[in-house]
């Protein structure tokens, strides 16, 4: 492989990895607080992509992106309030089953409302017009996705580590009862967690649709599943772990095919191989905490 091609693949790795990372953060944050996997998360990603598709028909692209992100946030909060909140005291398996139900509901609702036909996604022309950098021809999108992701992740880390609700979030993840005793209203913090996670998933959905410009009701299934694996690989419960797991998974997928194109038919299997290998050597993931109960 030429050096130029290698560099190009590094960028591709970061782009794909960033998208996995953004989705993975939502899984890991919800798990960190409620200790269950929100299987509907991948579908929020899908709804984000649809929302910008329709919003873009009415308003300029940047505004449409904001609408899509806000809409997906609200959807995430709504899902929690209606499908998970009534089950807070129930065994964890109930919430898990409820999550699977919400996932089917959102997918089938999308088929009904948006039809099952794939639609061409919005791609602002300047993002997909190749530019020459050194000896390379790259799409601005390839730079933009990791940059936007980095900015979003830094914003999130600021909220989690530098604000009062962030402090409450970190406290809840360890000891709900004590945190309530300190005056934290748990449901507000959980809503914030779903809102933030869903906003990041929608951002990922918007960028995903630019890179693979086709949207359909089941587009969230595989990215969601792989991002979940990325979250486990990074150490579920850890935001930094989710980012690391996402980038690692993106790199493995892109590089394995770059070095050995005959593997391209197995693209979706790498995530599972990575999961198995990492969990054999590091049962709690790369940055996960030891001795915490997992499902």
């Amino acid at each position: 492989m030429s050096f130029e091609l290698f560099v190009q693949n590094v960028f591709n790795s970061m782009t794909v990895g960033s998208l996995y990372a953004l989705i993975a953060i939502g899984y890991t944050m919800v798990y960190g607080i409620l200790r269950f996997i929100n299987f509907a998360h991948g579908d929020v990603f899908m709804v984000g992509a649809y929302l910008i598709f329709f919003a873009e028909m009415l308003v300029p692209w940047p505004v449409a992106a904001l609408i899509a992100i806000a809409g997906a946030s609200l959807l995430g909060i709504l899902v929690d309030q209606t499908a998970y909140r009534p089950l807070r005291e129930a065994p964890r398996i109930s919430a898990l089953i409820s999550a699977i139900g919400v996932s089917f509901l959102l997918e089938n609702l999308a088929v009904v409302v948006f039809t099952g036909l794939p639609r061409p996604a919005v791609q602002p022309a300047w993002m997909v017009r190749p530019i020459a950098v050194g000896g390379l021809r790259v799409l601005p999108l390839t730079f933009l996705v990791p940059l936007v992701t980095a900015a979003l992740v830094m914003g999130l880390l600021y909220v989690v580590y530098r604000t009062r609700p962030g402090l409450a979030m970190r406290a809840i993840s360890r000891d709900i009862e004590t945190t309530r005793m300190m005056g934290v209203s748990i449901n507000r913090i959980i809503a914030l967690t779903f809102g933030l996670g869903s906003a990041l998933a929608a951002a990922a959905g918007i960028m995903w649709a630019m890179r693979y410009p086709q949207i359909h009701p089941y587009m969230g299934v595989f990215p969601g599943f792989k991002a979940f694996i990325a979250a486990v690989v990074g150490g579920i419960g850890s935001i930094r772990g989710a980012v690391l797991g996402g980038l690692l998974l993106g790199t493995v997928e892109v590089m394995a095919i770059a070095f050995n194109p005959t593997l391209s038919g197995y693209r979706d299997a790498f995530a599972f191989v990575l999961l198995i290998v990492i969990l054999i050597f590091m049962p709690t993931g790369l940055l996960g905490e030891k001795n915490k109960d997992k499902i």
């Binding site: 402090l167 970190r170 406290a171 009862e177 004590t178 309530r180 005793m181 300190m182 005056g183 934290v184």
Partner: protein
């Protein structure tokens, strides 16, 4: 300040608190003494809103200059916002948060951000060790230091009523003395009312204005702390003869 009338706490088939009544007047230190399993923690946990089912009787709170309100059914976060803070049994420090963050969490119910910073300094003045270690994760503190952090954290909500559940548990004798001195200072200098649960009956009775003795869910004796200190029954059962 606080009045419990015929309080019951049941956990499934276990009747942990069997109809106790007690009163905490503003400015007092009131202590609740009893053997393991007598129902002391259940009582303060009920006041703090941490007992969800199985609660009976009345829990009445009268804030300074305010109206009497029943606390039963209020969630814990509303109760701390009303000025009743619990420093729970076993400290319950958040081990991954720094000392400073644990204190800030204690002030979560408040909206006066500037005053909170000042109160943090007051807690540091009370426990200088915490200031030295303000950046350290709470879990890396020693048991005694964690206890100080737990007391400091409860103070950060500026409670009118501070409930302390066995603050001297597991501390070396010198630290026990220090903790009791500090409890007294919190009461006298800061004017906070205190409900103190203790195994160390001697120390607790010595500083308490009022004391209640709990045996298997019932109050069997009550009176001014100093009186109970000299009561023959108390001497035999709780003060080692």
């Amino acid at each position: 300040m606080l009045e419990l009338i015929d309080l019951h706490v049941r956990y499934g088939g276990i009747h942990a608190v069997q109809g106790i009544s007690l009163r905490v007047r503003p400015g007092e230190i009131v202590t609740l003494i009893g053997a393991n399993g007598a129902g002391k923690s259940s009582t303060v946990r009920a006041v703090a809103g941490l007992v969800r089912g199985g609660l009976g009787g009345r829990i009445l709170h009268t804030p300074p200059g305010g109206e009497t309100v029943s606390l039963a059914g209020l969630p814990p976060e509303k109760i701390v916002a009303r000025g009743l803070a619990l420093c729970p049994e076993g400290r319950r420090i958040l081990p991954h948060l720094t000392v400073a963050e644990n204190l800030e969490l204690g002030a979560y119910s408040r909206s006066d951000r500037k005053a909170v910073a000042g109160d943090k300094e007051l807690v540091y003045a009370l426990f200088p060790l915490l200031k030295e270690r303000h950046w350290q994760p709470g879990g890396t503190l020693s048991g005694g230091e964690q206890q100080m952090l737990a007391v400091g954290r409860a103070l950060m909500s500026r409670p009118d009523l501070l409930m302390l559940d066995e603050p001297s548990l597991g501390l070396a004798p010198i630290l026990v003395r220090e903790i009791f001195q500090i409890i007294r200072r919190i009461n006298q200098e800061e004017g906070r009312t205190i409900l103190l649960i203790e195994q160390n009956a001697h120390a607790a009775l010595s500083i308490a204005h009022q004391a209640y003795i709990l045996e298997v869910g019932n109050i069997v004796l009550s009176g001014p702390g100093r009186e109970l200190l000299h009561d023959p029954k108390v001497k035999e059962a709780y003060l080692g003869g």
